[in-house]
Symmetry: C2
Subunit: 283 residues, 2 copies
């Protein structure tokens, strides 16, 4: 059994990649086996971990999540790269954008579930020192297209990274509609279980009000008793403070724990990682 979480938000630049990488790394440092799947044609999670993505100008012919999505028979374990102790990466490549077009030609019933099928096989595959993974994180692109849909179909949970700004609230309902659609059509077990507040600027009153709006929204969904996929969603703590070190370390291909293991950004992601693991262990 494993905890599989898609980090999703169609808005750009909200902290999806920073959260996927550093949360995955935090949990790997706690000794759990973690897989990070990079679903974004920007390949930022891949770069962040110090791996050069294939595709584009790159000469690197290595396999990527692209191959997994295009070919149901492709052995996903051959695309895995071990990037840290306990941490594996299924990298993206920068031609992934062309994939959306190629996948459009695939039978609709299969188009969004290829990743899930590949991961189910991986779950029982022997991989250096063990079988499968205890935690799987999907870094989604800033869109609601076929790559994100594959992530939503393959995961059991959704975490929404977002900023505590007024304009950030505007996109949430559309995001939840998409989750509801995937839950209804291909993945009935899908649940939004968390919101990660990213890049929080101290705790200005504005920021607290936006967080309160979110908390109220989820409380109302629970009180309303409807069976919506976000009825068990919570705003996770701690919020991740804005910390320039988190923006610097990708340029060195490092996680925050490689770069500055005791800075505020590291403290926050470590604490979040401990909580994600503790919740899982309690179940």
């Amino acid at each position: 059994q494993s905890r599989t979480i898609a980090l999703m938000n169609q808005k750009g630049g909200v902290g999806k990649t920073t959260t996927t990488v550093n949360l995955a790394a935090a949990i790997a440092q706690l000794g759990r086996r973690v897989l990070l799947v990079d679903l974004d044609p920007q390949a930022h999670a891949t770069l962040h971990l110090g791996v050069e993505p294939a595709g584009g100008e790159s000469e690197t012919p290595r396999p990527s999540v692209y191959d997994v999505l295009l070919d149901p028979a492709f052995p996903a374990e051959s695309a895995l790269r071990k990037v840290r102790d306990n941490l594996w990466l299924l990298p993206a490549e920068t031609d992934l954008a062309a994939l959306e077009t190629e996948l459009a030609a695939v039978d609709p019933a299969q188009r969004t579930t290829r990743l899930r099928a590949a991961l189910e096989k991986l779950a029982s595959s022997p991989i250096e020192g063990g079988t499968g993974f205890e935690f799987v994180f999907f870094d989604c692109p800033p869109s609601l297209g076929v790559l994100t849909l594959n992530g939503l179909a393959a995961a059991r949970e959704v975490f929404i990274p977002m900023q505590s700004h007024f304009l950030a609230l505007q996109g949430v309902s559309k995001l939840l509609e998409t989750v509801a659609l995937v839950a209804k059509t291909v993945n009935p077990r899908l649940r939004v279980t968390g919101v990660v507040i990213c890049m929080q600027d101290t705790s200005s009153r504005h920021s607290r009000e936006v967080v309160q709006d979110l908390v109220d929204f989820f409380d109302q969904a629970r009180a309303g008793g409807q069976d919506v996929p976000w009825k068990s969603a919570r705003v996770l703590t701690p919020a991740i403070r804005r910390n320039i070190k988190l923006a610097e370390c990708p340029s060195f291909g490092q996680t925050i724990f490689d770069y500055a293991p005791f800075c505020p950004g590291a403290l926050d992601y470590r604490a979040l990682g401990e909580r994600v693991v503790a919740e899982w262990d309690e179940l």
Copy 2:
């Protein structure tokens, strides 16, 4: 004659809307006639200025940039809203996303130039107290689709708002390719003339290194002598500092000058506005 500038970056959350709104507002406060065109189905610029966008759940049947894009005969001046002294808005609406599909059915030769045609008519239209506008700003969505292409076809200049972070550099070449493509096919006069550094965190060394990378890149393009559309691009000053007030004022439908006219965000956008006007006056 007017200075027409598209604020463009396919990356999300980099400061396009905040810059379009506050730069337009700064220049309007200097007494110049300014039009802001909201090209984004998120309608954030429209919201930021305190206007309720049409579309979606809204009952408001008002005309928007949508009508201008779908119907060449539509009188654009009927969609204008005066939002401040000297500042007019051509609002977006939240159904604009469906527009991309509808426009896909339009003849390719026309599909990306509808906005330009409408603006050419506006330039000679009598509009309350004057004719046309001296400055026109286009707030583009975070994509390289038909809405952004309409903005690029209609403008003579591109400003690129971006953060001075490593990951922000990764998307720049793709952005420039798109500008080059539009310059080659539909708008030979299109030039990237500026980069606006947004949300700068103090001046960390990382931030200065990223800015230096950009400066070097444009210097090399100039020195190389090729006729690329970014050969006269400069990193504009001042950089816009991170200032929570800039994130708060959209929730009140206010520009930074309405909300906190002497905070750092206001000082920076006012200074940038003065520079944009001064450059124009010198020509």
